[in-house]
Amino acid sequence: MRNAAGQSIHPVTRLVATIFAIASIFINHDLLLSCGAYLILFLLLLLNVKLLRSHVRFLLVVGLPFLAMFTLVYVVFLNNDPQGSFPDGFSFAAFVFLRLVLLTSVLQLFFFIPQNLLFATFSYYRLNGNLLYIWVGANVVWTDIASRSDQIITARYSRGLVANRNFLNRLKQLPYVIKPLLAGIFVTAFERSSSWKQKNILKHIEEMPRENFSFSFLRDILILLASVSWFTLSILTIS
């Protein structure tokens, strides 16, 4: 996550917060704690308009349809019966939905590293050689996935293969997108990795002065405290 001033989360905070947050999501079985955690993460998302926009899009396209589907299954088809430690079907459906959106929020906020900080962050974790290529390359692929999907959809629109822009028609494009998307990503990844090797670009970045880690000490401490507290509370809810 980067704020308007260009500040980033410190690599240590990023790693610790991601580990604690993901562990908490899977350990915790308390609906109220999940709600509280999501509220805090949502407030953090509000600080970054770009992240917020993509999160809202995820909520509308994936999150809420999933909630509707789970509600249908556990409330209507299974008569709202208790599920595990949950008193009724709806609580369980809401809990599964919250897990999904919590995981997405954590990945958005902490796990996805800004492109220009990829190398610096991974080298901070003492990754080097081929391992560094793989990690940095895997992160760069996201940019390609986004632009490739856009190209494929645009190409299909421009050839009149998508009748109109309604949700169902867009959904129908998925099978047509996946195959060329994978092929395209592999071609680009192959070309880019060859180009990196030829230019020895990673060594070049290694030699660049480390000026990018400008971070807010207070914010990082708050993030660490929040993630550790969430983890501790999750452990407590088990007992």
Binding site: R159, G160, N164, T188, K197, K199, N200, I201, K203
Partner: protein, 287 residues
């Protein structure tokens, strides 16, 4: 007009003659070992050669800069300023137009100060206002040998150093490649004729990717069936954007109107049905 020079070689050859393979081979592009940027290859799709590690063009350039070549860096920076690229330095490299990405990848590669820079048909995406200064920059930086493959060879008429690919490596046997003779019918079948409009009018077309930053502003023109129109403009002027609006891929601003034989139509509601679109890089349309 381009001037002849010895550090620039034009690689000539027909399509399928193996120009790309030649350039990849001489620059050891697909070698598994990491090299030290002695040779650099840039292929026909410039976005594939953007590092992907930069969120701005400025950082992409910085990533490639070698401190020990300060004078070299200066000439590249002066060139970028001269062609007006400096206002794109804060832009995301992946969101630049095809021509702008070409400039960025070539300038970045030059900053690495390689001994050979091979450019495979990438310069075809540049118009003369950017291409000529770029070739002049190549001439000034004589420590780099440039190998350029380009289908528009007439634009390099004064380059005396030309390498015919068939003289180097004739791996493709011309006899094995045959093209079917496709004859174009003189008259279109009536059923198609009925669906073709005679006149297409575009009125007050405006478009902006970002608020208050119009790419196209209040453009009006007419198109007639059976005529070939040549759309001319600087790199990044909005040619592809205009084509995408006509095809119905992008939505223009509200006051824009389209008329087909006097009848109001909306390409955005019928994407690809009124206008078709052939991409700058065929690689992007093989879906």
């Amino acid at each position: 007009m381009l001037t002849s020079t010895e550090n620039i070689s034009l690689i000539e050859g027909n399509n399928f003659s193996g120009r790309s393979d030649y350039l990849r081979t001489v620059t050891s592009f697909n070698e598994s070992e990491t090299s030290d940027a002695k040779n650099v290859f840039i292929g026909a799709v410039p976005r594939n050669y953007i590092s992907g590690l930069s969120t701005t063009s400025a950082f992409e350039l910085k990533l490639h800069s070698k401190n020990e070549n300060v004078s070299h860096n200066n000439s590249v920076n002066v060139f970028l300023k001269e062609i007006g690229f400096d206002h794109l330095l804060n832009h995301d490299p992946f969101k630049l137009s095809g021509g702008e990405q070409t400039i960025l990848t070539v300038a970045s590669a030059m900053l690495l100060a390689p001994s050979t820079l091979a450019i495979d048909c990438t310069l075809e995406q540049l118009n003369e206002q950017w291409k000529n200064p770029l070739i002049n920059l190549f001439r000034m930086n004589k420590e780099i040998n440039y190998l350029i493959a380009d289908n528009r060879t007439e634009e390099y008429s004064n380059l005396i150093k030309r390498i015919r690919i068939s003289d180097i490596d004739k791996r493709v046997d011309d006899e094995k490649i045959k093209f079917r003779d496709i004859s174009i019918p003189d008259a279109l079948p009536d059923i198609i004729k009925k669906n073709i409009a005679n006149k297409f009018e575009i009125r007050n077309l405006s478009f902006a990717y970002q608020k208050n930053k119009p790419v196209l502003k209040d453009i009006s023109f007419n198109l007639e069936t059976g005529k070939i129109y040549f759309l001319e403009g600087m790199n990044g002027a909005g040619k592809s954007t205009l084509a995408k609006i006509l095809t119905g891929v992008l939505k223009p601003e509200k006051n824009t109107s389209f008329f087909m034989d006097g009848r109001k139509v909306n390409p955005y509601e019928h994407p690809g049905k009124i206008f078709g679109y052939c991409y700058q890089n065929p690689d992007e349309q093989l879906f």
